[in-house]
């Protein structure tokens, strides 16, 4: 720019300033190319506004005011029409809202409808957030780029930049520049007008004699061209990839992330004799604490060989890492907490067939019946049995291993401690459904 590359003959012919200025535009400016116009500086924003009003009233149209910050009232003083930017922003927002709705309609309802729990594929409330975001996005982008575009920014090659004083326009300088191309421009009268309006400094500004410097500097143009071209590279690669075939392997941008020094499960591996990367349990071994040697707790049997189903509950929880820390090695207590836990697990795992009341009329038998089929689920609280007569250990075993053909075992899903909680809850459920006279007496 002009300030970075001073005119070559600046040293021999000083530029005009407020002291020695003659008002002769053909004058002594060392680098005098074509006259751009006059630049006048004012002391305060208030004076700037008054001066702008005078320039406007004198009939000038090709002039502009420059200040470090927005000045209230400068627009009417300069006779500038209100900007159309709000309308553009409204348009941007409107396009955002409609395109947001259309996008979702096309994706969700038209092109690729998914049935999610029977919900409709097209429903306005669900689409509002996206439409809202797009409204904001397009309105803001229109606002940002519209402001730059309407102000013809960025202008890094403006002739006024050749004035040293003008550099202060981003700090504390207030300027009016009148262009020579204005029909009313007259070298002497215009200068007098600016001076009458209270200018503290007036100077003529000339275009750079180098015609190349009237336009955008080459390095900026080169940067724009280069960065645009660079930005197109990914699109070009994608376009090429979509329209050609390749036998080459994928490009790996982070190879040490894609190829980690480990074996993934269930993959082939020729390191081991069986050709698998999975290493199963070694036959005849059990991890520490997982032996499940406590037959009462894990099987519901009494301790001796060939034991019987136990009638009560295990005396204590085994000290095994398979149990939660609050239970390990603790005595087995049948209390409200255990029953609550049992109820919770029962409601999750057992109610679909046995129902919440245990009468075997859960949703599965009910719906099978509606379809005309038969699905029998045991009435757990039938006074006539058999469940009420089962020893606790056998009930536990049934939960673990199931009751073919319809009931599968739940040993894999429900840990042993929870199975015992369910046993306790089923006992409570039975008691609630077939209470004895003594039980009821106890209630009162």
């Amino acid at each position: 720019m002009a300030t970075e590359t001073p005119p070559p003959d600046k040293a021999t012919e000083p530029r005009p300033d407020s002291e020695n200025q003659t008002g002769d535009a053909s004058g002594k400016h060392g680098t005098a190319g074509e006259l751009y116009g006059y630049l006048a500086e004012y002391d305060t924003p208030g004076e700037l506004v008054e001066a702008a009003r005078k320039v406007k009233d004198a009939g000038f149209t090709e002039f502009d005011a420059y200040s470090p910050f927005p000045v209230h009232g400068i627009d009417p003083a300069m006779g500038i029409k209100r900007t159309i930017l709000p309308l553009l922003i409204f348009g941007g927002g409107f396009v955002g809202a409609t395109s947001g709705i259309l996008l979702q309609w096309y994706c969700n309802a038209y092109s690729w409808g998914w049935n999610i729990s029977g919900k409709p594929t097209w429903s306005i409330p669900a689409n509002i957030p996206i439409a809202y975001e797009l409204t904001i996005l397009l309105a803001v982008l229109t606002s940002f780029f519209g402001m730059w575009g309407l102000n013809k920014l960025p202008q890094v090659w403006h002739p006024l930049f050749r004035s040293d004083r003008f550099l202060r326009v981003t700090d504390d300088g207030f300027f009016i520049g009148i262009e020579a191309k204005d029909k009313r421009f007259d070298v002497d009268k215009t200068k007098a007008l600016l001076g009458d309006a209270g200018a503290i400094d007036i100077e003529p500004v000339y275009y750079d004699p180098d015609p190349a410097k009237k336009a955008m500097p080459k390095w900026i143009m080169a940067f724009i061209v280069a960065s645009t071209a660079f930005a197109l590279i990914p699109f070009a690669i994608a376009a090429k990839a979509r329209n050609s075939h390749s036998a080459e392997p994928h490009v790996h941008i982070f190879p040490d992330m894609d190829f980690q020094p480990k074996f993934k499960s269930d993959t082939a591996n020729d390191l081991f004799a069986d050709g698998r990367s999975n290493r199963g349990e070694i036959p005849g071994t059990v991890a520490r604490g997982w032996l499940e040697e406590d037959t009462t707790f894990y099987l519901g049997l009494t301790a001796e060989t060939g034991g019987q189903w136990i009638d009560g509950f295990p005396a204590s929880y085994p000290d095994s890492p398979s149990l939660t820390p609050d239970l390990r090695g603790k005595p087995f207590v049948v209390d409200a907490k255990l029953l609550k836990r049992g109820q919770n697990r029962f409601n999750i795992y057992c109610t679909p067939c046995h129902g919440y009341d245990g009468r075997g009329q859960g949703m599965v038998p009910t719906r099978v019946k509606e379809q005309g089929g038969v699905w029998l689920a045991r009435n757990l609280v039938d006074k006539a049995g058999p469940v009420v007569f089962l020893p606790n250990g056998q009930l536990f075993n049934t939960i673990t291993n199931g009751f073919p053909p319809t009931m599968m075992g739940y040993g894999a899903q429900i840990p042993a401690a929870d199975r015992w909680a369910i046993v306790a809850y089923v006992r409570a459920l039975e008691r609630s459904q077939i209470a004895s006279n003594e039980d009821q007496a106890g209630q009162r």
């Binding site: 924003p45 208030g46 506004v49 927005p70 209230h72 009232g73 003083a77 209100r82 709000p86 409204f90 409330p125 669900a126 509002i128 957030p129």
Partner: protein, 429 residues
Amino acid sequence: MSLTRTVHPDDKFKAGKLGSTMVKAGLGLAVIMMVVSLVLGSMHNDGFKRFLYAYVVGWSFIVSISIGMLWLVLLHHLTRSRWSTVVRRIAEAIAGAFTVVFIGGLGFALPVLFGNKSLYYWATDDAHNAALNPTLAHKLGWLSPGAWFVRYCIYGAIYIGISWYFAKKSREQDESGDPKISDTLRRVSGPAMILFALTTCLMSMDVLMSLAPKWYSTIYGVDFWGSACVGGFATLGLIVLWVQRNGRLTHSITEEHYHDIGKWMFTFTFFWAYTAFSQFMLQWYGNMPEETVWYKYRMFGDWQWVSIAILVGYWAFPFIFLMSRWTKRIVPSLVFFSVWQLVFHWLDMYWNAMPSYDWTKATHGGATLVEGPLMNQIALHHVGFTPLDITVWLALVGVLLVGIGRNLTGNLIPIKDPTLGLSLAHEQL
């Protein structure tokens, strides 16, 4: 142009008899309309239940206007605003109406305290029936007439205290011109804003939301505040205009200030819609029975038309038109939208409260019990609009005018506020 300006020599900034005129008008309106309302209310033969519901709607309307303006006063100090200095005294007057408003609110608060069970379902004996209302039991300590009334008094005390303090300090500055008072108020405004937010949130829950005590919403207080600010700024614009039409502040308040009042009204029109939709969409999408029931009664049947009217009238129409610059700068246009938004603000309060009006009898275990609001077929719920709703509303608007008029005394602008010059010279970019 200049950045600051002094008060125009011809400007009348003394209230004179302006306040007492408003008090007289408000008192007349309140007394006449309240008598009419009591007659109409007794004709309903429902133990004044409809009357009390209309009272809650009208009272929410007037208290929300004071809440909106108290918020403006707090925000003014918190952000060192400049544009609002010239209208701050009038905003303080509207916020200062809290004393009268909370005394006026005793019209429904005292019946609740003294055992009227027709307004709030949680006050009934049947609310305690665990078989009928298993999900209500844990709320009944908070929602009991005594605790509720104590909180009503606390909310009133906090609002009155904050608005009184800020108005008093502002008047002190009129006398002394001490700029340090502005600094003090700025420091106080931060904590006061937090206290204000909590109070507004809890009060809206107690007064309006607990009409449907089994319903849940955590954004309710924010939604109420957004709606309150729409009403507050609409009222501010109208009262400023009324003050100017009576020859006061004719040079001090210009279209630039009306423009800012309009901008705030526009802002909160959208903010209210944003929170209202947030509340709706989470509950609609979540599809939990205890939440959706509240919307079920507003989306189907009679009430859907009120909902649509609010969506279009309270949001879409004013949103589109208030977006433009001229609608806020041309005073008749701003007046139109202010009145329009006040009507719809009332309708919004009505829409919040009235669907809970219909309770039903139910039999449970052989006994006849009263089931709470939103507990029956939609087809049995009607908008049931009556003239009573309007007369009670107007009576309470009279109460609000009495409250505002009392404060319209002395200087109508803070004449020695350090930012007054900037505010007088305020211009939009």
